[in-house]
């Protein structure tokens, strides 16, 4: 008998949704000690399926319309809320995506782990079990850690605490919803390894939700692919990844950029050069705490050739976004200079009213397409905004807006609509059109595809490449994702704690990294070829 068996599960959406069922006739099973990966893009119903197992549907407007969920033989859909409470955190552990918001910021770590033991009437010694779990998830010095508060821990450490909490009561099933998506690649690799070791060691079944086929390749025994609430493909890892039956699975697999770079295109004349950029943030101290100085950029230099793409790669806190913001004059630098070659030597530190030429020549595409468009401004007006602010004639701008929307493959009628009518991918196209409206020489993309599903990501990357070729743009591509960098860039700089630790041609850096940090980054990328490695 399977540990968990979901039969023909249907979850109804409220009337007026984009489809009738959020989850539509899904049947799955997870056996004792095995790992099932549920893969799908956003909105595929994968998280809802997991929430339904323990009666945690996020909104009262969603309800289970049919099917059965048998966990250890009993149907959780028919359980009382009391029985479900005993199940949650008892027999079924949960790990969520964001380890910061899943921990209570006002309570010490030890107490939070112990809470679950108390709730489920753990019979042994609580404190000892807490210490045991904290060392099981390989956290340093558990004795002092129990006294720490969540904000004193890094993201990876917090996720380890979450795993310790989820496994403290010896559950037979662990549900992990995108447990590593919010973490840096090197941390991600460690957490995945930890999850795999702990579940195998204790015979715990793992229901792992992810959008990343790299994670699937690393973790899964079996794979379920979901799309629009339906189960598209279901089988063993090797069958699904190597010989996918469905076109949709193949499309998702093809959209994963391989970690392989082509030869660098010949570099043109440099268009943007920066030397010795330094920037530090000073946090103001309080009565009890001295102020701290955090160096975001330490003597960073770069040069971007005409028609080329430079990738800036690094983990969170490496200073890569600060570099983009300094080059954009959104943040001032402490020292160093940046030149728009032939146009504006040393433009840093200009007053905002003198920045017009810089604004015309350098444009930025932001990470979050949901936040980067003003929700109360029509698309056409958003795209026209920049040129109008530069004093171009309204008639000419209007014609250019239509042309630009066409260029980013949107219908011209989009101009009269508001951002909330568009999907994430479409919004990112709008943001690109808005940047191109300024006819920039340099386009900086700050994590521009990180918030998008893989298939949409692939489309946007292709679009950017096409535009670059047609317009002769030079691009700076800031990303944490080496696969994306490899696909886009000719040159790369690798940043760690504000320093450039390695730079060179993308292909050379990937094949022969000189710095150990670069090598670690490359190793940590969960990529598809690792299937064969782990047989």
């Amino acid at each position: 008998m399977s540990l968990l068996r979901i039969e023909d599960l249907r979850i109804a959406l409220p009337k007026g949704g984009d489809r009738a069922f959020a989850v539509d006739g899904v049947s799955l099973h997870v056996d004792q000690g095995e790992t099932l990966c549920v893969v799908g893009e956003s909105g595929s119903g994968k998280s809802l399926t997991a929430s339904a197992i323990v009666g945690l549907l996020p909104s009262r407007s969603l309800r289970v319309a049919g099917g059965r969920i048998l966990f250890e033989g009993s149907d959780t859909l028919r359980m009382s809320s009391r029985e479900l409470q005993d199940l949650r955190g008892g027999r079924v552990g949960f790990v969520f995506q964001d380890p910061l918001s899943s921990l209570n910021p006002l309570e010490r770590i030890g107490k939070q782990v112990e809470e679950v033991l108390r709730q489920h009437r753990w019979t042994g010694d609580h404190r000892q079990r807490v210490l045991e779990m904290l060392s099981a998830v390989q956290l340093p010095s558990p004795e002092s850690l129990v006294e720490a508060y969540p904000w004193q821990l890094s993201g990876g450490q917090r996720q380890r605490v979450m795993i310790a909490t989820a496994l403290a009561t010896r559950p037979s099933l662990l549900v992990a919803d995108e447990p590593t998506s919010a973490l840096d690649v090197t941390t991600q690799a460690q957490i995945l390894e930890l999850l795999r070791d702990l579940t195998k060691q204790h015979g715990i079944a793992l229901f792992l939700i992810t959008h990343d086929f790299g994670v699937v390749a690393r973790m899964a025994d079996r794979v379920a692919v979901m799309k629009s609430g339906k189960l598209v493909e279901y089988g063993t890892r090797d069958a699904v990844l190597r010989t996918p039956r469905e076109a949709y699975t193949r499309k998702l697999l093809d959209a994963v950029p391989p970690l392989r770079a082509g030869p660098a295109r010949p570099a043109g004349e440099p268009v943007l050069k920066a030397t010795g950029l330094t920037k530090s943030w000073v946090t103001r101290g309080s009565l009890f705490r001295p102020g701290r100085t955090v160096a975001a950029l330490k003597n960073v230099s770069m040069s971007l050739g005409h028609g080329n793409t430079l990738a800036v790669v690094g983990e969170s806190g490496s200073g890569k976004s600060t570099l983009a913001r300094v080059l954009m004059c959104l943040t001032g630098a402490d020292s160093g200079q940046a030149d728009l070659v032939g146009i504006n030597a040393n433009y840093l530190g200009l007053r905002s009213r003198d920045l017009a030429t810089v604004r015309r020549n350098i444009q930025l595409v932001f990470q979050d397409p949901y936040a980067s468009l003003n929700p109360r401004r029509r698309i056409g007006a958003a795209v026209a905004q920049g040129p109008l602010a530069q004093g171009e004639k309204p008639g000419a701008v209007h014609a250019r807006v239509a042309e630009l929307l066409g260029k980013v493959q949107l219908d011209p009628s989009a101009a009269d609509r508001y951002p909330n009518e568009f999907s994430g991918g479409q919004r990112q196209r709008i943001a690109i059109a808005r940047a191109l409206a300024m006819r920039p020489r340099v386009l900086i993309a700050d994590e521009a595809v990180s918030a998008l599903d893989v298939s949409v990501q692939a489309e946007i990357l292709t679009l950017l490449k096409d535009i670059q070729r047609d317009e002769g743009l030079s691009m700076i591509f800031v990303t944490h994702d080496l696969r994306v960098a490899a696909r886009m860039a000719d040159q790369v700089i690798v940043m760690q704690s504000g320093c450039v630790v390695e730079q060179g041609a993308m292909q050379d850096v990937l094949t022969a990294p000189q710095h150990h940090y670069t090598a670690a980054l490359i190793d940590a990328v969960p990529s598809l070829p690792s299937i064969s490695v782990q047989q």
């Binding site: 905002s352 980067s372 003003n374 929700p375 905004q385 808005r434």
Partner: protein
């Protein structure tokens, strides 16, 4: 859920507004003139009775709506103007400007507001203009604080940075990008300020600090105080109308507030 509030509030307030605008046509008598015997209880010719001097109460109430609504609307608009300007500049620029403006706002907040209004009106001599002015000067700080906090969160949003990187001036970023997104909560608070202003005006009139050339509800209630036990109609009817006006505005404000809160928007059907 919020739609009935907006409906009821709007209909009530609409009726009162029509009454204020058409006062000379609707009122049976001149509100300031002696039109019958004093202290007459409600009857067929004086529907709501007459006061100590024989003035018609109904006519006084109809004309009094003008003072209440004008004072309410104008002082709410003025104080919203002051509050939005101060809050937007403080929130957007931050730093020393912010600290200075917040201190300035607090200066107005720490003075007991009703005392301050009385003081201002007494110095400026009571008139419609001075009352409106005094109320506006006193009630803007909450708007400034609200706008400032909205600006503090909105200015770090990516669309504002995008607008800056397109070369928009500070002025157009403030007015065209941030302000429209900050308005919904301000509207809700602003309509509540209309109610506050109406009540403050009524309290001033009650204490005798009314424009001597115009009838107002607060003045009617205040002057009826000595005869309340044997001429109840003099204070009860104006009081009821005052209550209904403030209620309608409060309903409207709550309705608008809920509507502008996206987390409540989805619950409209429940």
């Amino acid at each position: 859920m919020h739609s009935w509030r907006i409906g009821v509030g709007a209909v009530l307030l609409g009726l009162i507004t029509v009454m204020a605008i058409a006062a000379p046509l609707l009122a049976p008598f001149d509100p300031m003139a002696i039109s019958g015997p004093p202290l007459l209880p409600p009857d067929a010719s004086y529907l709501l009775g007459t006061d100590m001097l024989g003035r018609d109460v109904l006519s006084g109430m109809i004309h009094g709506a003008r003072v209440s609504l004008i004072v309410g609307l104008v002082s709410a608009l003025c104080s919203a103007g002051i509050g939005i300007t101060v809050g937007a500049i403080a929130g957007y620029f931050g730093g020393a400007i912010d600290r200075a403006l917040v201190r300035f706002t607090e200066f107005f907040q720490v003075i007991p507001s009703f005392m301050f209004v009385i003081l201002l009106v007494a110095i400026l001599t009571p008139s419609l203009l001075s009352i409106t002015l005094a109320i506006s000067v006193v009630i803007w700080p909450p708007v400034a604080r609200l706008v400032r906090s909205e600006f503090l969160t909105l200015k770090t949003r990516e669309f504002v940075e995008a607008a800056r990187s397109l070369g928009l001036s500070h002025g157009s970023v403030i007015v065209r990008e941030i302000l429209p997104n900050a308005m919904p909560p301000v509207l809700a608070v602003g309509s509540l300020m209309v109610a506050t202003a109406i009540l403050t005006e009524a309290s001033l009139s009650f204490l005798g600090l009314a424009d001597p050339n115009m009838t107002s509800w607060g003045y009617m209630i205040g002057s009826a105080r000595p005869v309340f036990r044997h001429a109840w109609w003099l204070s009860v009817f104006p009081g009821l109308l005052l209550f209904l006006t403030v209620l309608s505005i409060t309903l409207l404000s709550e309705g608008l507030g809920d509507k502008s809160n996206p987390s409540l928007r989805g619950q409209a059907g429940h």
